[in-house]
């Protein structure tokens, strides 16, 4: 078939007679390719800066814990919340930097038609990207937890002590899974809105930071408001305000609900609703726990729906 005989050109065309992979395996290849690019692997040194730094920083509490435990202290960091503030900041930076790496680049250079003219179907592409980014976020969240666990049990004696740690770790891992899925979905959906990397990064950072700060402010405000409101009615002698504790308990509704504003506090609300005991940014969810569950699903559905709609359109264009 190939024109090898008597052709003066370099080499003749060679047919490919080997194995061909099916669609599922092609999706898997795209998954691996995307997962590598989520950490800048296979790209220049510059592409690795943010992933490496954020990963090192998010591991620091686990390392500090290992050192502390080795010196005879009890475990410092809870599994189910880890170092909450630090994790929020690191994940925002990581997602804002890397989600555009996975989707905006292809949009920017209009590569998508070259994917869609191949055996892949329309939704295979965002699916592979999402799976890869969830995996990447899982690595960012769960590896520090595992380090925390290992650092702790290294000094534990006896099976029961280790079993205690393992029992505490498992809910932490599940909370981490929840984080990874939701944050990766939101990050990719926002990144897919723009082919311009800077815009995509900006959109992600602004959304996550603003809602996070807003939730923090609202929680603080609603708590304080309640203090004043509750201080007046009992007709107590002037200058002797009620005790803080009693007031906060009355204070619920506003403070309980403001956590719904940000994905991070939503995740924390769900954690508390499902029985997480460590103190988090949300001051208790009261009877509104299910609302946080609904909010989590709404955010997830909106992100996935947006992502799917984006690629249904992008492919046809």
């Amino acid at each position: 078939m190939s024109a090898e005989t008597g052709v003066i050109h370099d080499i003749g065309y060679r047919r490919y007679t080997g194995r061909r992979l099916g669609r599922a395996q092609i999706v898997r290849a795209l998954y691996w390719h995307s997962l590598r690019s989520a950490f800048g692997i296979g790209r220049g040194a510059k592409a690795k800066i943010v992933p490496v730094i954020t990963f090192v920083v998010i591991c620091l509490p686990a390392v500090a814990n290992a050192v502390a435990v080795a010196r005879g202290n009890a475990r410092l960091v809870p599994y189910d919340t880890y170092a909450f503030q630090l994790r929020v900041v690191v994940m925002i930076i990581y997602i804002a930097a890397q989600a555009p790496e996975l989707v905006s680049r292809d949009l920017r250079s209009h590569v998508l038609p070259l994917y869609f003219c191949r055996p892949l179907r329309r939704l295979d592409y965002p699916l592979a990207k999402l799976a890869a980014f969830v995996t990447a976020c899982l690595a960012m969240i769960e590896i520090p937890l595992l380090l925390l666990y290992l650092g702790t049990i290294a000094q534990s004696h006896g099976g029961s002590a280790i079993w205690q740690q393992t029992k505490a770790l498992i809910p932490g891992l599940l909370v981490g899974l929840m984080w990874a899925v939701l944050l990766a979905a939101i990050g990719l959906a926002l990144a897919s809105l723009s082919g311009r990397r800077a815009y995509a990064t900006g959109a992600i950072a602004i959304y996550f930071f603003l809602t996070w700060i807003l939730a923090g402010i609202l929680i603080a405000v609603t708590q304080r408001t309640v203090v004043h409101a509750a201080a007046a009615p009992p007709g107590a002698p002037p200058g002797s305000p009620q005790k803080f504790e009693t007031v906060t308990q009355v204070a619920t509704t506003g403070a309980h609900l403001t956590g719904l504003v940000s994905p991070f506090t939503t995740l924390d609300g769900v954690r508390q609703w499902l029985g997480g005991t460590s103190e988090g940014p949300v001051p208790g969810v009261g009877q509104y726990g299910p609302l946080y569950g609904v909010m989590l699903l709404v955010l997830l559905a909106a992100s996935l729906g947006g992502l799917a709609a984006r690629y249904r359109k992008a492919g046809a264009a």
Binding site: S2, Y16, H110
Partner: protein, 328 residues
């Protein structure tokens, strides 16, 4: 799953039956298009907006037709889209290359996306890039390439999956004349030596007619004409006479002898009635003793054919328009 490429020799490569595509808002991109494309190199010609790109997208199974049927390489475009896309290479019209990866990395990745295992993808990427004339440059980032080199990368990525059919959308767009020529040569070589059927969509007929075996012309989503190149460029009933000197004398002389000669560039055109016309011309030249350079039946260029569709009757009367000034 692994659709092994079958040669599909002889059978039609593409077959559409009353293919219609209407976009929302009552825009009809394809209007009951029925056309058959044979193996070989086929030009798909039409003005911008004639429906070429819509047709290609339907053939790749990326757009569902509103009605009608389309078959590619023996498979139905809706049901067998995956197999068709495995066996078809597509080169989009617009820019579609990321600037910050090397051509090797990029084509290898797309080879993987075509279903090749990792090693095979690497090998075939290197070969495909060599076929299109990229050697050491292939280790450079695509962003540093010239337009011509980028077009070659776009062509190379169609070859990496060992297709049986290539759909090339305006492959010469943005190229200078030299770049256009070498791109056309390359396409022609892929079609003839590599044994891959090719559909080249272009709005520049004069350009692609050189390399095509067949031509399909569409306009407003309808078939204008589909035929082989040879039948389209059949000889016309016009004689071209070229003498080294004395054109004016000959012009007068032929007029005297009852023909209606028209000067055209350095030659004269005469309507060919029958064999006697040849004799008349011969005698006139002999009597004047002029050095005859060329005497032949003129071939029509396809471009004129399409332009002439409406005005064909007028054309037949020997008032044929001068050869198109457009040179590919």
């Amino acid at each position: 799953m692994s659709a092994q490429p079958s040669p599909d020799t002889g059978a039609a490569v593409i077959q559409t039956t009353a293919l219609t595509k209407r976009y929302p808002g009552a825009v009809t991109a394809l209007d009951a298009l029925t056309v058959t494309v044979e193996p070989g190199i086929t030009g798909l010609v039409g003005a911008n907006g004639a429906g070429k790109s819509t047709l290609i997208k339907i053939l790749l199974g990326l757009l569902p037709p509103t009605s009608g049927q389309a078959r590619v390489l023996g498979g139905d475009c809706l049901r067998d889209a995956e197999r068709i896309r495995t066996l078809t290479g597509y080169m989009p019209e617009h820019d579609c290359l990321p600037p910050d990866v090397t051509a090797t990395e990029f084509v290898t990745h797309l080879g993987r996306m075509s279903g090749l295992p990792a090693t095979a993808a690497k090998e075939r990427a290197a070969e495909s890039l060599r076929h299109v004339g990229l050697y050491e440059e292939r280790y450079r980032q695509i962003g540093t390439y010239s337009t011509g080199m980028k077009q070659r990368v776009k062509l190379a990525q169609t070859l990496v999956g060992d297709p049986r059919l290539l759909l090339l959308d305006e492959p010469t767009v943005g190229l200078d004349p030299a770049g256009r020529n070498s791109m056309l040569e390359l396409i022609s070589r892929i079609g003839t030596e590599f044994g891959i059927s090719i559909v080249v969509a272009s709005h520049l007929l004069g350009e692609i007619e050189r390399i095509c075996d067949h031509l399909v012309a569409i306009d407003g989503g309808r078939l204008l004409r589909a035929d082989t190149m040879t039948s389209m460029t059949q000889v016309s009933q016009v004689l071209v006479i070229e003498v080294d000197e004395g054109s004016e004398l000959l012009l007068a002389e032929l007029g005297q002898r009852g023909l209606e000669p028209r000067p055209y560039q350095r030659a004269l055109l005469v309507r060919l009635e029958d064999d006697a016309t040849y004799d008349t011309v011969r005698d006139a030249i002999a009597d004047l003793g002029l050095p005859l350079n060329r005497l032949e039946q003129r071939r029509r260029r396809v471009e004129e054919l399409f332009r002439d569709e409406q005005a064909q009757d007028a054309q037949a009367a020997g008032t044929e328009t001068p050869e198109a000034s457009h040179v590919g």
